[in-house]
């Protein structure tokens, strides 16, 4: 059974990724990306990495995708008609999203009632918040700190590139 679910998620993830780069409509593209991210979250769930799966849905599927959609809607209003004509695609995407969310809900219910098959006793421990926190803030403390510098560099760089008039700052 798990193999089948894995195959479903894996196919969905790859198909969504292909759909994302091939679809001409940016909104469709973004929705395909959501589908891709959520399928990956499903694979995480299969691996018993619940924490990663939740984070994947919350951060990538939720927060980052909302930002994407906002940017697309604010910037690109020209093909609104095209968007409307592809209603069926949007319904399909919505259907799939519904299925994924439903399967997650069922998963939670099933795991509470104990009807899910066990993967491996070791795997259960790996996916919890404690194990991840322990790894991140013990052995991998230095990489976590370095990530702070990486993100700072990215923010400074993004601002530098986004500045409208760079030469106004020169000769200060």
């Amino acid at each position: 059974m798990e193999t089948y679910i894995f195959i479903l998620f894996a196919t969905l993830a790859v198909a969504a990724a292909v759909g994302m780069i091939t679809s001409r409509n940016t909104v469709n593209s973004a929705l395909f990306l959501v589908l891709n991210l959520i399928s990956v979250a499903g694979i995480f769930l299969l691996l018993k990495a619940q924490f990663l799966a939740v984070i994947q849905v919350l951060v990538y599927g939720g927060a980052i995708m909302v930002l994407f959609l906002f940017v697309i809607m604010l910037l690109n209003l020209s093909d609104e008609e095209q968007m409307l004509s592809k209603f069926s695609v949007r319904y399909a995407v919505g259907f799939f999203l519904g299925v994924i969310v439903l399967s997650q809900l069922l998963y939670v219910i099933a795991s509470v009632t104990g009807t899910l098959p066990r993967i491996h006793p070791e795997m259960e421990a790996v996916g919890t918040v404690e194990t991840i926190g322990d790894a991140l803030f013990n052995i991998y403390m230095l990489p976590v700190l370095v990530t702070a510098i990486l993100l700072t560099a990215a923010v400074v760089g993004a601002l530098l590139l986004a500045q409208r008039n760079i030469s106004g700052k020169v000769n200060k």
Partner: protein, 476 residues
């Protein structure tokens, strides 16, 4: 918890990280590019001094084995900090003359240097990846600094897209290697016994990621465009510090994570070294733009260095480290002089035909250019010759004779495009009546130091080679 002693093992990294944040805040509160420049030089020089003193210190691992210090890593830090320090010194005059002197440049350079320092001291694929990412993201921004210049924007975009793609390869390789060995520590990967498909796929993807960073053919397409489009002193920084860091990390991975598989990857690197040398040199022959020519020449140099990696012995690794040092010195020098010519307005001073007769107008710059170019050709008594000689000798010892023959022939062909610049500088009459301005004192002085080092290590390589050889007597 990390003790203070552990922090001391990565002192250059901490200095540069703090410097990056400090310069960033300095910019936010004062907005003065001059102050940022001074602070950057001070911190870089301090980090360089610490790295040099670490060369003679102990070797080992810290931070639960995530970091390796001393020996090769310290030398990698010296390479990176030399590249950073001289690029920063040269950057100021160039950026001021081209109207791009802003303080953020220095914090981006420092963040990039931070990534490189992490890269050369990583003993784990996680730190390695973070190092590469920090370095690359800062370099993407630096490449696109001149936003009103189409070529610069093109360079940044190309570098970013291809770089992100290559990062994907690298990350996938890391993931597969983790799957095969159950660990991201280099020593644990070396201990993998079950070398199945996953393991080899991981090794292959990891190699692709590295080949992109060292711009080996056929992963070199971004190099000429990016080197041409980026501001020249930033190009010097990219061509030297980032490449040296990638090579040192490559050596660490090959020698620590994949020592058993040497027979297999050696053949792969053999093939790519051959391609890189031949294609790099042939394409350099037909370039009329000096920056493009230097870009292809840096691809060709990557090919020579890969001969040493293909040999894969301790002697070859230390020869590669020496080569990287010579390469850093002469490339910064050459790009520095191109930057000097380039800041004169009116003509495109990256086209070689516009160099006619310039050698006599500012003799000191002409002579320095000759030193750097002759060193790149590999003519004694310059450091470039010793580097090439030692890499080729180590490869011959390993029986890679056909590869070395190609290398020698390729470097003979390279004489044409290097000397073409000198022919234009000294042997052609000037057609335009351009008057060259005097370069700044610090600018000239730093180029003189680079030339002096090139000559010193060409005449007296023993000082460095003995030290480098001693790194490999310690077994991991």
């Amino acid at each position: 918890m990390e003790s203070a002693n552990e922090l001391l093992t990565i002192l250059p990294l901490i200095i540069i990280g703090a410097a990056g944040l400090f310069v960033m805040m300095l910019d936010a509160f004062t907005g003065s590019a001059r102050l940022a420049y001074l602070a950057t030089i001070l911190f870089s020089a301090a980090a360089l001094a610490v790295a040099v003193s670490d060369l003679f210190g102990p070797m080992g691992e810290s931070f639960h084995g995530l970091i390796t210090y001393g020996g090769t890593s310290s030398f990698g830090m010296v390479l990176v900090m030399t590249g950073t320090l001289f690029s920063v010194i040269l950057s100021r005059d160039y950026l001021e003359k081209t109207g791009m002197h802003i303080a953020e440049v220095y914090s981006m350079i420092l963040f990039a240097a931070f990534g490189m320092l992490l890269l050369v001291s990583s003993n784990n694929l996680v730190t390695l990846f973070l190092g590469i990412e920090t370095m690359s993201i800062s370099l993407y921004v630096l490449a696109g600094l001149v936003k009103n210049h189409k070529k610069s924007v093109e360079a940044a975009l190309k570098y970013f897209l291809l770089g992100a793609f290559a990062t994907g390869f690298l990350l996938y390789g890391i993931a597969l290697l983790y799957g095969a060995s159950g660990s991201t520590f280099l020593v644990d990967i070396a201990a993998t016994e079950d070398k199945g498909m996953i393991y080899w796929a991981g090794v292959g993807l990891l190699l692709v990621g590295f080949f992109f960073k060292i711009s080996a053919v056929p992963f070199h397409m971004w190099t000429p465009d990016v080197y041409q489009g980026a501001p020249t002193t930033i190009t010097a920084f990219m061509a030297t510090a980032s490449k040296a860091a990638a090579f040192v990390a490559f050596i660490l991975v090959l020698s620590r994570a994949l020592p058993d598989a040497r027979a297999d990857w050696s053949d792969v690197i053999w093939l790519f070294a051959l391609l890189t040398m031949v294609v790099g040199n042939i394409l350099a022959l037909v370039q009329d733009n000096v920056k493009r020519m230097l870009a292809y020449s840096s691809i060709a140099h990557a090919g020579y260095i890969m001969i040493g990696l293909a040999a894969g012995t301790d002697a070859a690794y230390s020869a590669v480290l020496f080569y990287l040092f010579a390469y850093t010195l002469m490339n910064i020098g050459a790009f520095g002089i191109v930057a000097y010519y380039e800041w004169h307005k009116g003509y495109d001073f990256t086209e070689v035909s516009n160099y006619s007769g310039l050698g006599f107008k500012q003799p000191i710059m002409g002579v320095l250019m000759s030193v750097f170019l002759f060193s790149m050709v590999g003519i004694p008594p310059f450091a470039g010759f010793i580097g090439k000689y030692r890499v080729f000798a180590a490869a011959v010892d390993e029986g890679l004779i056909s590869l070395v023959i190609v290398g020698v022939l390729a470097s003979a062909a390279s004489v044409y495009y290097y000397l073409r610049v000198l022919v234009h500088l000294f042997m052609k009459e000037s057609e335009n009546g351009i008057v060259l301005s005097r370069p700044g004192t610090l600018y000239t002085a730093s180029l003189l130091i680079l030339a002096a080092l090139t000559i010193f290590f060409g005449i007296n390589p023993g000082v460095l080679t003995d030290l480098l050889g001693s790194f490999w007597t310690v077994q991991y």
